[in-house]
Symmetry: C2
Subunit: 312 residues, 2 copies
């Protein structure tokens, strides 16, 4: 193989009650990585589109190419050289797993180029390393679902223990990205280091309820469990009109609505594409009333993860 073009999906992390442990993939948006072999060893970046010039063009400092290099080193294949082009289709700091989608597309693409020496699960540590470089925190709740597809639980990091949970086929996601930016590091910084035992118990109940609801296809239980008593009350203040937008989603039959990842994107879950579209319209209109433009993505739960778009 000399050329691979691969897509990796955006993701919704936390999913209300599951801070740092839950995430799911959506069909769109997503980032695209092109990898082309070259004769000399080493990875170089040819171009990055869609990032407004904000990501490093130096391959030794860009998270995507750094982890591709780690993967080559692990395989003892530092003889391999390639040219990388990265197409960002979502803004940085959007809360939709932008850095994760790029890292996953990158490691997936180079693994395809080399004839799949690693399984999907084996690629995960490389993608997590990409998150550490890009965001300063080695979290897996975006790279996990972007790489494996579906609804993913990160039970533990040491050792890494990641698994998928089946979800109802009719479950749909509304993802609204308001045109403001939240820095993931800031969003982490404002969290308290301690949680009351009472709130811990409530949140554990919601975690148990969401997993059971997804597996039993019990939409009422899913809805009752999409409640975050720990993180959302703190981070909501970073998103103007958060309460109003959430209420608009719930008024339009959303099963639940909360912050996507560290925000400012907000997600809602619902029982059909039609409902998801209606919810999205209501959420966008509510942002607009406050003069905030936004972008809408309506999608099923993406069970596939990264996708090979082209190879030759």
């Amino acid at each position: 193989m000399n050329y691979i073009k691969a897509f990796a999906p955006a993701t919704v992390a936390n999913v209300a009650c599951g801070f740092d442990i839950f995430g799911f993939a959506v069909d769109e948006p997503g980032d695209i990585v092109e990898v082309r072999r070259r004769d000399e060893p080493g990875i170089v970046i040819m171009d990055i589109t869609g990032d407004e010039g904000r990501l490093p063009r130096d391959a030794s400092r860009n998270a995507v190419t750094v982890v591709m290099q780690h993967l080559l080193k692990k395989l003892d294949r530092l003889d391999v050289g390639c040219e990388v082009t990265l197409h960002k289709n979502m803004p940085l700091g959007s809360g939709m797993g932008s850095s994760a989608a790029s890292a996953v597309a990158g490691v997936f693409a180079i693994n395809e180029l080399l004839g799949q020496p690693f399984t999907r699960h084996q690629l995960l540590p490389f993608a997590i390393e990409g998150e550490r470089i890009a965001c300063g925190s080695a979290h897996a709740d975006n790279v996990g679902p972007s790489l494996l597809g579906g609804f993913v639980v990160i039970r533990s990091y040491q050792p890494l223990d990641v698994f998928t949970v089946p979800v109802p086929d009719s479950l749909h996601c509304t993802l609204v990205h308001p045109d403001i930016e939240v820095n993931t590091k800031d969003a982490r910084y404002i969290l308290r280091n301690e949680v009351s035992l009472k709130n811990t118990i409530s949140q554990m109940g919601n975690v148990a309820g969401l997993i059971t609801g997804l597996m039993k296809e019990d939409f009422d239980l899913i809805s009752r469990s999409l409640v975050d008593v720990i993180i959302e009350p703190v981070r909501a203040i970073l998103i103007p009109e958060f309460n109003e937008v959430k209420q608009a989603a719930l008024d339009n039959d959303a099963l639940g609505c909360s912050i996507s990842g560290a925000g400012p994107s907000m997600f809602a879950l619902s029982k059909s594409r039609l409902e998801a579209a209606r919810i999205g319209k209501a959420m966008q209109e509510t942002f607009e009333l406050a003069g905030i433009s936004s972008k809408l993505h309506v999608s099923g739960i993406n069970k596939e993860g990264p996708k090979l778009l082209e190879k030759r």
Copy 2:
């Protein structure tokens, strides 16, 4: 109906990672309540066996008869009178849901006597009230599984939201009650009111893992998730030889081992009755080495809950 004799099972609450939200019922031990109609209105206690004289004989102060009276009042049937006999088959303060089994047997029996005016779920608030009277805390993680059978999650108390989770048929429980006593109020008192965010995240991961493992019948995942980083490290000091007994269970292929409820009973889960018996033997021997006698119960997961033993 003039006479009902009913059994309600012991329960294991918390189940390692699910403090105050998880519980399951076992086949034995369990408490038995006999209810016999009498001509005059009002509930009287005829006898209590197996409590070493420690429970109130005054029906207006005994949790079981108080909640039976509440049930009659709710039905506007204060004309009904009955004589109650309570057979305690497990010690008070054992961590096996002793007070819950009695309360459940009581409300189940009087509901049968009256021709089932309430569903099982409708009986739950009465049984929870019994816990409040008996233990000073209206928790449902023992009465829930004792009344509904199976593995039960209490997602929320306000409003009450309780549901069952399917478990593998081959799952078995070893329950060992060392001959020491822990007061539930003391066991609550030593807990910290704050939990680190880090431990909250770990525990949520284990909650998600245990539910997924039970529903997928993935015993490895069940085993990895039977970990309690919040409560067990604090309460284990109340149980002499806790670490040694737990290790003995794990050395004998237990999927996990922790404190049953507030202790001092300890439970282990395993994949067969044979394993559960072997684990129990090893746990008892370890207690014995420290001069502590104990009682062993080996059981499947009781999916039935309370049982009508006799009616006429």
